[in-house]
Symmetry: C3
Subunit: 400 residues, 3 copies
């Protein structure tokens, strides 16, 4: 795959993680090759010291077995003249190239312990190309520019920020039962069979987080003629048949304690709970009687439903809620972005613990896992020890 992303002060690692999780999942959990990623790239992408190194090991932490740059040297003609390679047009060493050399040396030294990383995740995001195409044909109405991927990414990013590893599944996946929590953004177009399967997943003890616009139409983008959200209303314990555009709308009594971020925007479904518990009502003189976010016990499982676009802060609180409810809150979740934790099992059967500091400020953290060796510095790490991590820094612990 090719992965390009913002850099400098805007480098987050999210696109590296997202691209890797999608690619790995599409290969059924196998490792993948990064065929292209940015070297110097565009003028606004020239990496700060440490960033190219951080990016390279972030690819490995998501399961990449190779990192290849576009391209070796900058080209001297044509449209991609300013899509710059490791070398500038002058073929001379430069800071980006010098850093790439250290990446190569460390890959050479450590690859045996780092490649073929196997990852086992308890959380999956259910994506659908039919839903993407269907939703994007309408978005939230004429003139609306939000896309399916904006909604999906808002949930993915919230999981990334609390270090919850995810796989991706799609309507053809037969492995839903491998997961404890499935996140379902805007599954606008879906066959009844998939929705029924998701109901059964919950009934059998699974957790699902849905957003608005899920189950609105069938796989042919024909809107359901029954109560919304179609079929999954059974697991969600809610219904709605009207939706509107929020103006000056928040969540009543700021239930997630997010202060000025207590906002709803762009789209809101006017939800009536049946059996669901209401996590948040709208705060609005007319729409205040409707639910915005609900949660429902169904069978042995739990179905959570977000009925509106919210601020990033609210999204993150809801994600935290469902991760905790699914019993998936661990020590790595206490380390919050910009400290990023990734893990997997290497080809020797050892746990590999990656820690990344996606920030220009040096930081430190209490290493929460079993004792091991920090591979880059080749130093022993005991459990519960403090690890210092520099600006845009990387630490890799192989557990004993």
């Amino acid at each position: 795959m090719d992965i390009y992303h913002p850099s400098q002060d805007h480098l987050t690692g999210m696109e590296i993680s997202f691209g890797g999780d999608v690619g790995r999942s599409m290969k059924g959990g196998q490792n993948y090759l990064v065929m292209e990623t940015e070297a110097q790239g565009f003028a606004q992408w020239v990496p700060y010291p440490g960033q190219l190194y951080l990016q390279a090991f972030s690819h490995l932490a998501s399961g990449a077995n190779m990192v290849e740059y576009w391209h070796w040297h900058s080209i001297h003609n044509s449209a991609e003249t300013y899509w710059k390679g490791l070398l500038s047009h002058d073929f001379e060493p430069n800071p980006t190239y010098e850093e790439a050399k250290t990446i190569g040396a460390d890959f050479d030294r450590l690859s045996a312990r780092l490649i073929n990383l196997k990852k086992k995740n308890d959380v999956a995001i259910l994506f659908s190309n039919e839903a993407l195409t269907g939703f994007n044909s309408f978005s939230f109405g004429w003139g609306s520019r939000e896309s399916y991927n904006d909604i999906l990414r808002s949930l993915y990013d919230a999981l990334y920020k609390i270090n919850v590893g995810v796989d991706f599944v799609d309507p053809t996946s037969s492995n839903l039962d491998n997961y404890k929590l499935i996140v379902v953004p805007a599954l606008y177009a879906a066959p009844d069979s998939l929705l029924t399967r998701l109901n059964r997943f919950v009934k059998n003890g699974g957790h699902v987080l849905y957003t608005f616009k899920t189950a609105f139409s069938d796989q042919n983008v024909k809107v359901h003629t029954a109560v919304q959200p179609a079929i999954i209303n059974e697991a969600c314990g809610i219904s709605y048949n009207q939706f509107t555009t929020p103006e000056h709308v928040g969540l009543k009594d700021d239930p997630f304690h997010v202060g000025k971020d207590n906002t709803v925007n762009t789209f809101m479904e006017l939800i009536t709970p049946k059996t669901a518990k209401v996590l948040a009502y709208y705060d609005h003189p007319v729409w205040g009687k409707y639910a915005a976010i609900t949660q429902n016990n169904y069978g042995k499982g739990l179905a959570t439903y977000i009925g509106c676009l919210t601020s990033e802060a609210i999204n993150e609180k809801v994600i935290e809620n469902v991760v905790k409810a699914a019993g998936l809150w661990g020590t790595d979740q206490e380390l919050k972005y910009p400290l990023v934790a990734k893990s997997g099992v290497n080809q020797y059967g050892k746990n590999i613990r990656y820690y990344f500091n996606y920030s220009a400020s040096p930081s430190s953290f209490i290493y929460p896992h079993k004792a091991g060796k920090e591979l880059l510095s080749n130093t022993e790490i005991s459990g519960k020890s403090k690890i210092d991590i520099g600006a845009w820094g990387v630490k890799i612990v192989e557990e004993k």
Copy 2:
């Protein structure tokens, strides 16, 4: 006709009134049918409680004999999937549908007293499709986006806000003499015969309010080769041959007492009065010697000329001035928007008095007309009695 308009916090009734006045006038004062108007409509149009009812009776108050929604139920495929009907896609009752049922019931009960409403207005707006096409070809110059209808609506809306009922006339109308005041926005392209007729209308005792850009070109959009405004300069007692774009321009000494709204924008003619009284000069170091708004006695009538785009507040003050000068200021003009008054004569020859509260705040007013019966509540109303009117409320009095 079809009438669609903003809703929720942006509902004003102006488009309903405007569409109705145009349609009724185009039919020579006959009643008309609303073939389409919004039910739930787009997400941002879902009506607040009371709004659908308010809208329906507002159509009747302008002379509609029917209100039909687009459409009965929301459609399940294609481009208008989100142009929602009275019923949502689920065919189940919903708040909009429930409110529509009350409209149907009240129409059924009261139609005999409400349909075939006859309206007699003393004010007409002269519109012209030739002027629209001609003006819009140039607007105020390259890059300018203002359109003829923006100018026409700014005057219409100001009349609406003080409850002055209007008809529309056009260059083919032979009934100008039925009116006491004719408002003429940007009559950019007009034959000499029409301008001469308007001069005669004033000379014979009529009142006319003109704006800038009137009479600039003939009916073939050929600019006049004589002093501007062509021909009507005689009735207006002014001339100009330069115009410019205001920057930091207001009206000298804030003659209309509108404070921060004392602004001129986009376009200004540099007017020299001949016999006209100057209602406002420009406030600008260079253009301050020119008149912005003038008024001239001509024969037995009065011609007022607005030479520039002004704020809404100034517009409303000028409209108030000309309505008063024409002797048309009555008790309904004391009830200002968001209280809207409409009236007409029903098929029993009785005066029907509509009062609408285009606001989310309940209000009250002293009913200024003869005693009668409030039809919706079937209660007697005496003259000068206080009437309470709820949020988005409607009252209809049939005079005795």
Copy 3:
């Protein structure tokens, strides 16, 4: 040539001066005819009193031998209906026309002393249509909208504001040695021969001011494969092989004392000085070790290099620096914009000194040259005398 420009509060004279300098230079220093310039023009161009007169004599001061208006009378049909002439559509006198009459009368009276003005400038701007086409194909990267002429104008305008007369030269010009200072904006595409010639110009004692992006590619827009800036790095004593997009970047320690204008935007080269003196470093946590603006003695001359887009204020300070370094700072440079000074030699061999007040505020200045006669008022002027100049005023002294 045709010269159109902003007017009213936005009138600066820059476009008149720029157009004149380009046109005169393209004719090898001969005088030129202004075939079209604005009379009333668009609505936003209607001249304030005095402006048309000021503009007319500004054309002469740059070497025009004629000023002709588009057009005599405003036209009554078609696309240019609102491109207004000296007369409005009514063919009647108006303030613009009345002022044009005074211009004609003064041209008639004074032409013999004013036409055929010869100008001798020590500063040239090197422009290149190849560089323009090459640079504009890429600008600063996809999505960037800055053009070659924006960069050229920023330097031209800074020279204009300190009354430094300039000629224009291009890659075919054989007269570079006539100049003491050559300003070279964004000479993106250039043959090696031109760059070598510029090196030789400096070596022989000339001064050059370069900006970023100069010498990046050859005349076929093939990027050089050697160190940047190619070839001229020898005279400039610098090199770079990375460049980026500034965010929150200024110049370290505000070296030009411009306060809040101490900003860098859009593009910055990461320059390493070899022999050059650094006039300014970047102020940024990562890029702070790189130079932004440098100056290098090379042979008997001096090469200054601006590596980034800066504020107008910084640009003006750098221009002031290089003008002073070239020994070109004179008494007219102490009169700063909006007081504009232009000069030349008339056909009687006398120095003509123009002074323009491009401002709505009357001003005064100490006339810094030899005694002469102010031609418009026909009054004697002694050296060092105070001259009052009105809003948008003109003074013309013919030295004795």
